[in-house]
Symmetry: C2
Subunit: 404 residues, 2 copies
């Protein structure tokens, strides 16, 4: 088999851990597999480099930032190759450029254009383990680029696709994808499998497993991958295309996002184009809006409505300022903000074929006396905004109701 | 003018110093010059990387060591470019490979094969300061290589040659080349100029100014360069081809090497081929022999001679073992070793046209009661081995006699 493995920054955080990673790689190789390994920078290294850069420029030149950050992964690949060499296993490290990873020229968040894995194939054929620097590539005219957050996962999944790998393993510091955050829900279980769409919905609902773009890439190119721990040998969670049997599970997982804040614009004139004005202004200020709810209009004389939406807590003040700036143009009455909220979501492709999921969720919350502020649904997700004080208890309640 | 500047590890040892270097570069640029800058890794970085590598492998794989060490200079070029950017000076960093520095494939001590400075020229023409990673290059098939000790000086001198630069400045933490080590000889003076050959002899005599290979490269390609301090604006020392007027100075400088040890092989049979056997055995063991003296033969019956030579103190035990292994074959009487010696040298092209230099040196030492153990001469150098206890006083004595 040809296996692509990716190890994140904490898995290669010091020399001892790099040795552990090398032992794991050696195990797979001793079973006759060809192994390509993608590594991140050692934990803390990238932050240290960014700190130095910011001492020189508050907003560092992006081309030079890529030149700088690319050294982090280059350090790890060389050390990982040495760790394998010291075990008498032939291993060769490759930078993103050397591995044939060609990107566009958008520094610090480049997109992979294509991968020419000729060199990787020939090194594998010679019996080597090939260690590739994650997170980085090269433009067609030889500029070093980086792929942005979650870039090493993306490198691994893109390489697995280009190499037509039989298996892609994303090693991390958790055992896999859980039905809920085990720190909140003690009886949360590790999933055996999950569909791309479910994982994407869980990510957008606040579960910190992987960056969405890597999952989207895997979905687009049909790369099956496994999320598993580099600290033990437990089986992880397989992420793959939806299968018929996946619909038997109504709710795959529960996610809680305590990082949202709610904004309500009170008594907005209920006429066409007003919502567009509000959300265009927010988008222009690069504020990411998550849930949007518009209540039914009320009032006597001019009909008005309340528009509520959620944003990242970090963007709350900026959002308030943007909306304030529209007061003259739009003519609303007031802005109410609330930081003490949380977003609770249930996700599952089984929702499509099972009716009554929303009702069951709301009912379980009502029985616990949890008030629902906002509701938003997609085909495979239901999210509610609730009081932050009740959030963890509500998460356990909903997990119990659907998963047990 | 097109100026190539090289800054060593201590000159770019922290963010503050990188800012100082940027100010200096900015000064030259504001005078209308085109500036190409070569930088080393920040002081301590390379040692830190080697330490990590050795934790994995006592003798690290050399290809991977190059991959690892190349990150040190890559970090500095990005930071230096940012420092200039923050002063609104356009600057672009280039790795050795991007700068067009092509080497052979001898990892950790690669030789520069050729430089194609097309990219540097076009970046300069666009108004940029170009920052090039010292110490590194790339093989024709895309492997990252490093040039070994003194590699960044070599990068600067080779670039100055390839770019036909008008000026090449090697910035360091001393003001230039001194007539002696100022810590030993308080009235040592900075030289205004020195010939390549004199600097080479001083280097081999123990003066730690620059690695010989960079000076040899400069000599071969007639690159005039200046050694000067990055801490002040004092003029440095110009290193160039010998001129007629240089012979007016009898002795350019005095050097002391306290890192040598002496080996005497006692009562070696005085017949052809014996010396060859001794020094071939030492060479096979990669022991570098410096001075060699063979005394006149003596004894009754079989004529024997004593053979003395010096080696690095670090190689002394190894050398003794090698010679011991020859006892059966050669049949000498004893081996005497002496670590308490030092080599004192005077260097100057003026020696060629001035007679009596050796006599004057020996006379000044005799007057101070310093006993001479061994003598060795070249066309422009006289070296003597003396007792280490008298070494510093003898250095001052000889400096006084010739330079003042």
């Amino acid at each position: 088999m040809l296996i692509v493995q990716k190890y994140g920054g904490s898995s290669v955080g010091n020399i001892e851990r790099i040795k552990n990673v090398a032992s794991r790689i050696a195990d797979y190789r001793s079973k006759g597999h060809k192994v390509v390994v993608v590594v991140s920078a050692m934990a803390g290294v990238t932050d240290g480099l960014i700190k130095m850069a910011k001492e020189l420029m508050p907003i560092p030149n992006e081309r030079e930032l890529d030149m700088l950050l690319a050294t982090g992964e280059q350090t790890t690949i060389a050390l990982a190759a040495m760790a394998l060499n010291s075990m008498n296993i032939p291993a060769v490290s490759l930078t993103g450029a050397q591995a044939g990873i060609v990107t566009d020229g958008v520094h610090t968040k480049a997109k992979i254009r294509n991968i020419t894995p000729k060199k990787i194939h020939s090194l594998l054929d010679e019996g080597n383990v090939v260690i590739v620097a994650g997170f980085q590539g090269e433009t067609p005219d030889g500029q070093i680029t980086t792929l942005g957050r979650g870039g090493s996962d993306l490198t691994a999944i893109a390489l697995a696709s280009a190499l037509k790998a039989d298996l892609c393993q994303i090693y991390t510091d958790v055992d896999g994808v859980y039905t809920a955050d085990p720190r909140i829900v003690p009886n949360a279980r590790k999933m055996e499998e999950i569909s791309y769409d479910e994982l994407l919905e869980l990510a957008s609902a606040g579960a910190k497993v992987m960056q969405s773009r890597s999952v989207e890439f895997a979905k687009k190119f049909k790369v099956v991958f496994e999320v598993k721990s580099s600290m033990n040998n437990n089986p992880g969670t397989i992420v793959k295309e939806e299968t018929k049997s996946m619909e038997d599970v109504v709710i795959r997982g529960v996610a809680l996002d305590k990082n949202q804040a709610k904004v309500t614009v009170v008594a907005v004139p209920d006429k066409p184009g007003i919502a567009a004005q509000i959300f265009k202004a927010l988008a222009d200020a690069t504020i990411n809006v998550d849930m949007i709810v518009q209540n039914v209009s009320h009032g006597n004389g001019i009909r008005t409505t309340d528009v509520s939406f959620t944003v990242d807590k970090a963007d709350l003040l900026k959002a308030k300022k943007v909306i304030d700036g529209l007061k003259e143009t739009i003519g609303f009455k007031d802005i109410i903000t609330d930081e003490n909220i949380a977003k609770l979501s249930v996700v599952g492709v089984g929702m499509r074929s099972h009716s009554g999921v929303a009702a069951k969720m709301f009912d379980s919350l009502a029985k616990e006396g949890v008030n629902i502020n906002m509701i938003s649904t997609s085909e495979i997700k239901i999210s509610v905004v609730i009081d932050i004080a009740a959030a963890e208890k509500a998460t356990r309640t909903v997990h119990n109701a659907f998963i047990g």
